[in-house]
């Protein structure tokens, strides 16, 4: 089987075609089904977190270990040579000499693209500043496909901070391959940036703004919630916003039975804990799926062959 991901860098969701995305999602589903496989046996993966992100790091490291790979690396730049003034270019040159692939997170936008150009081994972007976090988008897509049985033609509400939310920008971009209908629910100050709207229009994707959660709940297949950062508002304003953008269980009465609530986590107070006990809550499965999506990504980048249903590489 032809593996289009082999030996590639995964820097930006825009680098992946529709076929690439579908291929990764199928592999993620297969790996979730099959349980751990030794697809990274004898492989050494460098996990380079120039900026701390415990959640992303644990998910990647779990993925590597589940596939029998070995991890080296660091969890923040505090003790690395970056602190002593070494350039990222030099750090990556050096690490590329030690490992078989690099997973990296860095506070500056464009750092992963630069690292991918410097390294002669695959670089997987675990977040570069406010820019890209493609494995998050892949796990979102995998989760959507899993709970809805398809990606095509879904109605999706994106709720919360649509202005600064890297996650929703990449998700909107990637879902563009699958003819969705979007509903945006956001405070005016946190509306979707014009450049994202422009690219959706250019791609012929339908989207509209809705005033409240109640208005969109009955209409959608996926309610994708994000955190509205308190710091961006004064306290009274925030209280008012919170009442509009916090999901409470009674709001879900009008939802389709198959509707699922997603959230990239961590949540603060935008989803009431009682929602967790409804059949609509899907954010913890979504987080778990992060490990499968990352297993799929790593195993495809590192192996020319693809896991067959029987368990061997073909």
């Amino acid at each position: 089987m032809n593996n289009p991901l082999f030996d590639r860098d995964v820097v930006s969701i825009g680098d992946l075609s529709k076929a690439d995305i579908e291929f990764i999602i199928e592999r993620a589903a297969a790996l979730k089904q099959s349980g751990p496989m030794p697809l990274l046996k004898d492989r050494l993966i460098a996990s380079c977190f120039f900026e701390a992100s415990t959640r992303t790091r644990l998910s990647f490291e779990a993925a590597v270990q589940r596939l029998g790979g070995t991890i080296i690396g660091f969890s923040d730049s505090g003790n690395t040579s970056t602190k002593k003034g070494e350039t990222l270019t030099d750090s990556i040159h050096m690490i590329a000499g030690y490992a078989d692939a690099i997973i990296m997170r860095h506070p500056r936008e464009g750092s992963a693209r630069l690292a991918a150009e410097v390294a002669n081994i695959p670089v997987i972007n675990g977040g570069d500043g406010a820019n890209q976090h493609p494995s998050q988008t892949l796990l979102d897509l995998f989760s959507i496909a899993e709970c809805q049985g398809r990606l095509d033609g879904l109605s999706i509400a994106l709720v919360g901070d649509l202005k600064y939310g890297r996650t929703v920008h990449s998700l909107a971009q990637a879902m563009g391959h699958f003819k969705p209908r979007f509903y945006f629910v956001a405070p005016e100050a946190l509306a979707m940036p014009a450049y994202i709207e422009d690219s959706l229009r250019a791609a012929g994707i339908a989207f509209e703004y809705a005033d409240s959660l109640e208005a969109v709940v009955p209409l959608v297949d996926i309610l994708y919630m994000t955190r509205v950062q308190k710091e961006r508002f004064d306290p009274t304003e925030y209280m008012h916003l919170a009442s509009q953008f916090v999901l409470r269980p009674e709001m879900l009465k009008s939802a389709k039975p198959s509707m699922r609530v997603m959230h990239p986590l961590p949540r603060v107070d935008e989803i009431h804990p009682a929602v967790d006990r409804t059949s609509h809550a899907y954010y913890f499965q979504q987080a778990e799926n992060g490990v499968y999506a990352r297993q799929a990504l790593l195993s495809l980048v590192m192996n020319e062959g693809v896991l067959s249903p029987g368990g061997g590489l073909v």
Partner: protein, 156 residues
Amino acid sequence: MSEHRREKMLVEAIQNGTVIDHIPAGKGLTILGRLQLRNAEVRLTVGLNLPSHGGGMKDLIKIDDWRFTEQDAAELALFAPKATVNIIEEYRVVRKFPIGLPETFIGVFVCPNANCITHVEPVESRFSVIQEATLQLRCHYCERAFADTLFTENKS
């Protein structure tokens, strides 16, 4: 002296080099600044608010002993997209071409995103040109797109 003759003199008064003609009036000094950034030693003669063929005014720059390549010209494209480049040898125009917008600008502009990796690493900036409703440059590294005016109005 006729307009035609006067312009001919302006163009041909250098022995070898490049004449950038039909620069929109007012952009001459900006282009001058860009050229000096690239080569501080080069000898430049500037004409501002000269009469233009089709009426109106234009700026013109003569550069001694520097024969522009298409790449040199492309770097000025955002500032004077309608300008023309004349290559001069022994007082004669040996080649003439319009300034064209390139597909990418490499090492020409500084990324307006202050948190872009290009500000702290030894790497040339790189922008792809996106021409849709408006002209934008997209940074190859941080992936943000910026209006052309962000490059042409603040930096000279």
